[in-house]
């Protein structure tokens, strides 16, 4: 029953979180601004690992699974992240916050 013996992947942990996913993305990333970004803080700060690099080294982003912390919005040095909360009632539903 216990699931704590080993590290849990981010996918395993996100599966424990209740989401009511909005069809309308609440975060839009202008990835054209990412090419010149050396630091790419989004790759490191996102607690849900929603920012990844594809095989060409381009930023890929998916809003589903967003924990709505706001880190990418504040950490992005190029204002590439257009961030809003999901529409009312949608998004993450914490039970033990």
């Amino acid at each position: 029953m216990s699931n704590v013996e080993k590290k849990l992947s981010i996918e395993e942990r996100l599966a424990l979180v209740v989401f009511n996913v909005d069809e309308e993305p609440h975060i839009i990333v202008d990835v054209s601004k990412c090419d010149t970004c050396d630091l790419k803080p989004c790759l490191y700060v996102c607690p849900a690992n929603l920012y990844t690099l594809d095989e060409n080294g381009k930023i890929q982003f998916n809003y589903e699974g967003c924990l709505e912390c706001g880190s990418c919005r504040v950490a992005c040095p190029n204002d590439a992240v257009k961030w809003n909360h999901p529409r009312g009632g949608f998004g993450v539903q914490y039970r033990f916050g």
Binding site: P47, R87, G88
Partner: protein, 427 residues
């Protein structure tokens, strides 16, 4: 919906609900708007509330509030990958009622009921997109197609200040002014919690953990015992992960694999993973807290404090909600809602414990940005204890042992003294 209220409050967290409660109680028409479909579903924090403000404003909290455990043990850990030095303060009843662990999700449900019973209208599932601003005066809020007119708007949107930032009502949040907290909650029988942490039913532990928990980054770990769960997490200053090339979602799991935590959490089951901002600004925010027709309260106003030993937010939030309510009631009785009429908010804040304490600890973030606190010093402490507790026929006296480790770790005595003085002066 195109309605008119005396007061519109954006955000149903501890600050917004407290403001709404007191305003409605005094007979004003109050609406509290919140993006979550259910109260508390977007609220996340570490796990502890200091009760002094509740004693003052909601003395019935002891019987009513969703208290998990009263904090009876305060622990500070200095950790390396495979060892830990723990400082613990235990006190019997008396200290017992100073703070308690709780889920903020459940706590705001309780506070929300109070606000509703006092007559405030809580509109759930409403995301406020913008403010109605005419001639630089805030006249209400915009949510999707709906506009809502209000004489006073209270911005209680929390630490992630999307609205304030988007309207340029405050300087844009910088990565070194906030920290990201991630939390994992583990279900564990209350009997086992009692045994492993050495507490009775209803008694709990609050721990801060320094060094390995943040993998040496500016930040730290926390642990709170709930009734049937343990809440564990890591808070890291937002500019640190990229600088150190460590991933936030991995830090907390790395920390959890520490042999000491493995023992504490054995046989438990992780039931939730969450993330939220913590404000660590240091300087007093003053300038953006009042404007024509609006006030800013709670974490949105920057009212959070981390001294390295104590982490607080909810008590500041509640106090600022009460002060905002007092301010609006006073301004309302005189018929004013412009910046001038509302500027008594700042005066009241300055006379409150919020400013007294934020002012006293304003140098804490600067002190806590010293990297040695998270790397060399926990290692020094652990190596020191490991050495002096070793028995193998070679005598190890305290001072020569300490100097030997300092030499190996390249820690100068003068630097250590300087950092020590800095600690004494700033926290």
């Amino acid at each position: 919906m195109s309605e008119k209220f005396d007061v519109a409050i954006i955000g149903a967290g501890p600050s917004g609900l407290t403001a709404g409660y007191f305003l409605a109680k005094s007979g004003l028409d109050v609406v509290i708007l919140d993006k979550a479909s259910e109260l508390g579903a977007k609220n996340v924090y570490g796990g502890r509330i200091y009760s002094h403000v509740l004693k003052k404003y909601f003395p019935e909290y002891k019987d009513e509030a969703p208290i998990e455990r009263w904090v009876r043990k305060e622990q500070l850990y200095f950790m390396t990958r495979d060892s830990a030095v723990k400082v613990e303060f235990f006190a019997d009843k008396g200290f017992l009622e100073e703070s308690f662990t709780a889920y903020l999700t459940k706590f705001v449900k309780w506070l929300g009921e109070k606000a509703e019973n006092a007559g405030a209208l809580i509109a759930n599932g409403v995301r406020v997109d913008s403010l109605i601003i005419e001639n630089k005066k805030v006249k209400g809020v915009i949510a999707g197609e709906d506009k809502l007119i209000a004489d006073y708007v209270v911005i209680a949107e929390g630490a992630n200040t999307v609205l304030l930032d988007s309207l340029n009502l405050k300087p844009k949040t910088k990565p070194n002014e906030v920290a990201l907290g991630v939390k994992e909650v583990f279900r564990l029988d209350s009997e086992k919690i009692n045994e492993r942490f050495g507490v009775n039913d209803d008694e709990g532990v609050a721990a801060l953990l320094v060094g390995y928990p943040s993998l040496g980054a500016i930040g730290g770990g926390f642990l709170y015992t709930m009734k049937n769960e343990v809440a564990l997490g890591v808070v890291v200053r937002l500019d640190e992960p990229a600088r150190k090339r460590i991933k936030m979602y991995d830090i907390v799991e790395e920390f959890r694999m520490h042999p000491l935590l493995k023992r504490l959490l054995k046989d438990s089951y992780m039931i939730e993973y969450s993330a939220h901002f913590v404000v660590e600004r240091g300087k007093l925010p003053d300038r953006y807290l009042v404007g024509d027709g609006y006030l800013v309260i709670g974490a949105a106003a920057g009212f959070e404090l981390n001294t390295g030993l104590i982490v607080r937010g909810v008590d500041f939030a509640i106090e600022s909600g009460k002060i905002a309510a007092d301010t609006i009631l006073e301004a309302h009785s005189k018929g004013g809602s412009d910046r001038n009429a509302l500027s008594i908010y700042l005066k009241k804040l300055r006379n409150s414990f919020i400013y007294r304490e934020l002012e006293a600890f304003r140098k804490a973030p600067e002190f806590l940005s010293n990297e040695r606190i998270y790397t060399k010093y926990p290692e020094l402490l652990n190596d020191f204890f490991r050495e002096i507790l070793t028995v193998d026929g070679n005598p190890r006296r305290l001072y020569p042992t300490l100097r030997g480790i300092m030499k190996k770790k390249k820690i100068s005595l003068l630097g250590l003294i300087r950092d020590g003085l800095r600690a004494v002066r700033s926290i």
